[in-house]
């Protein structure tokens, strides 16, 4: 069995606001295996960024962890002091943010920005740190790196800046890399380059990646496993094939159905909007937008039902007594593909 490098259990996070407590994370559990890429998918406000910020100890001041644990090397990250977190952040768990324009310091040479974590965390002396910075800058594909290491962020394009951000994140060879929408601000052709680069570097330095995105196309290309979040909860998780070819939760169906593929002729939008987490609904949070909702969905929250050893979904449709429903056309097509794939491998 794969080694678990990170284990999040029953995480609950509230945000205190003037209007009341926003229940942003409502009992989230997941784990990360060594060397894998776990994608967390969800709409804005589903809690995917808050989850990962809690891993880094970077929650906003009005946030309060009201329960759960985040186990990393047999220690609970949530119990660590700010000082202890500073030793983990950037060294063992590093993060790439969405916007490469704002995550670099405009007044610092990029060589300095890449060398800084080395000097701080690994006590490497300045000259050696710059030499290592140069190596990693070449590794992330900045051409003419010897010259450009002395340049400032504004002298680079968006794609190059994201490469520099990746270099900073990886320079200490972190065990876990959290990538929060790392390519959303980039053009498709540049996005493809950056994703390719991340895959190559992952193989080279054996880091585990948590990849946060709302783009299911990117997920399909990057992830080993996928967790789908909705309204502060994980509603389905499984391997990338299980989620894309054998999805069980109506929200996952809706997501796959509302994305155009290059061949699709019809888009089915998910009606309505996500619930207000100031006052989350009692039952299945997706019930109000779910055309397959049953009476029990508004009354009681569904537990996780096991689909396979690696695949779980929180929907009452998987209950043995639930009526059989026919998913949308596109999902039926995917289920058929899955049947064919599993049949071949048996």
């Amino acid at each position: 069995m794969a080694e678990r490098i990170l284990d999040v259990k029953n995480l609950k996070i509230n945000f205190h606001t003037y209007a009341g407590d926003v229940k942003a994370i409502r009992d989230v559990s997941f784990h990360l295996n060594k060397g894998e890429t776990l994608a967390i998918v969800g709409e804005s406000g589903s809690g995917k960024s808050v989850t990962t910020k809690s891993l880094m100890g970077l929650l906003a001041n009005n946030a309060e962890v009201i329960g759960g644990s985040i186990m990393y090397h047999d220690e609970d990250i949530l119990k660590k002091s700010e000082k202890q977190m500073q030793n983990i952040r950037g060294k063992e768990i590093a993060m790439i943010f969405q916007d490469p324009m704002t995550s670099l310091d405009p007044t610092m040479k990029i060589g300095q920005q890449i060398a800084e974590p080395l000097m701080k965390h690994k006590k490497v002396e300045k000259k050696k740190a710059w030499a290592q910075a140069l190596d990693i800058l070449k590794l992330v594909g900045i051409s003419n790196a010897e010259e450009r290491i002395k340049d400032y962020p504004h002298q680079f394009s968006g794609g190059q800046r994201q490469r520099i951000v990746i270099a900073i994140a990886l320079v200490c060879y972190p065990e876990i890399l959290i990538a929060d929408e790392p390519t959303t601000a980039l053009d498709v052709t540049i996005q493809a380059q950056i994703l390719q680069l991340m895959k190559e570097l992952q193989a080279k330095i054996e880091t585990s990646i948590i990849f946060i995105t709302h783009d299911l196309g990117v997920v399909a290309g990057m992830a080993d496993r996928v967790a789908v979040m909705y309204a502060g909860q994980i509603v389905e998780y499984g391997t990338v094939d299980e989620i894309f070819y054998n999805p069980q939760h109506p929200y996952t169906w809706g997501l796959l159905n509302s994305m155009p593929t290059l061949t699709s002729t019809k888009l089915e939008a998910i009606p309505g909007t996500p619930p207000d987490l100031l006052d989350p609904p009692k039952g299945d949070p997706f019930a109000a937008r779910n055309p397959y909702a049953m009476k029990i969905d508004v009354e009681q929250q569904p537990p996780f039902f096991k689909v396979s050893e690696t695949h779980y979904a929180a929907t009452w449709l998987l209950h043995p007594d639930a009526p059989k429903v026919t998913p949308p056309e596109e999902i039926v097509r995917r289920h058929q593909l899955f049947a064919k794939m599993t049949h071949q491998s048996v």
């Binding site: 498709v188 052709t189 290309g221 509302s258 155009p260 593929t261 888009l267 939008a269």
Partner: protein, 317 residues
Amino acid sequence: MAEKQKKLLEVKHLKQYFNVGKSDEVKAVDDVSCDIYEGETFGLVGESGSGKTTTGRSIIHLYKPTAGQIIFDGQDVNQFKNKAEILAFRREMQMIFQDPYASLNPRMKIKDIVAEGIDIHHLAKDSAQRNKMVEDLLELVGLNRDHSSRYPHEFSGGQRQRIGIARALAVQPKFIIADEPISALDVSIQAQVVNLLKDLQRDQGLTYLFIAHDLSMVKYISDRIGVMHYGKLLEVGPSDEIYAHPLHDYTASLISAVPVPDPEYERNRKQIAYDSSVEVDHPENPRKLHEVVPGRFVRCTDEELPMYQERAAKFTK
């Protein structure tokens, strides 16, 4: 079929340069020509900096073009003689913007935002009629009639984009330029807005210029597509054909980079590299849009044309 349709908009050799004559002159749009037919959706795709937004803004006359003509409904947009003609033009052509947070004035009520066009063009006799028009519009775009006295901050991104659409529709335009109208929205909301735009087109006979970088969404909504790169229009054609069989290498490279929500496809993805240096024009042998096969245009020289014709012939077999 396209030939029989009426041309609603003709763009002829549009050039939009910035900082003309200075060392940092930018040829944002460089000799772009295209026609948009009544009732169709023309998708304009390209990377950031390709000039697609500038093209849209030049068409709606937010810039004065450096050269070239924009003929809307038989009239040259740059030859308006007086304010009345400009006003009349503005009624016919409206725009929906990318950022639903920045494009609505936070201090104005929804009814005043939506009714701005109605007021300017004096379309309402009295305030009762004005209110009724606004409420009808809100209902049309899928919002609640009672929302008209609220402020923008009370709405989500998708709802704000619906307000932007209602504002554009208020003056009953023929032609709408939608500049990345869904880029700022969540996946599940994107489909809602796109479907709304499609329904409105069907019911009101609207013509769209749909500008976006998300190729799969553009393909879904557009009848025809134009591909822009470095200010030049490289390829024009029916969206299905362009996606299935791109003629220009840049188009092929762009399509090969689109992530598809299908792990099997992604595992076998072959990204096509593109060398943009081949695009450099020689003054003695300029490239222009050639019709390779009926309805499909590629920007090339006279010498390159047979190569593209050969490519196109392969696909039609």
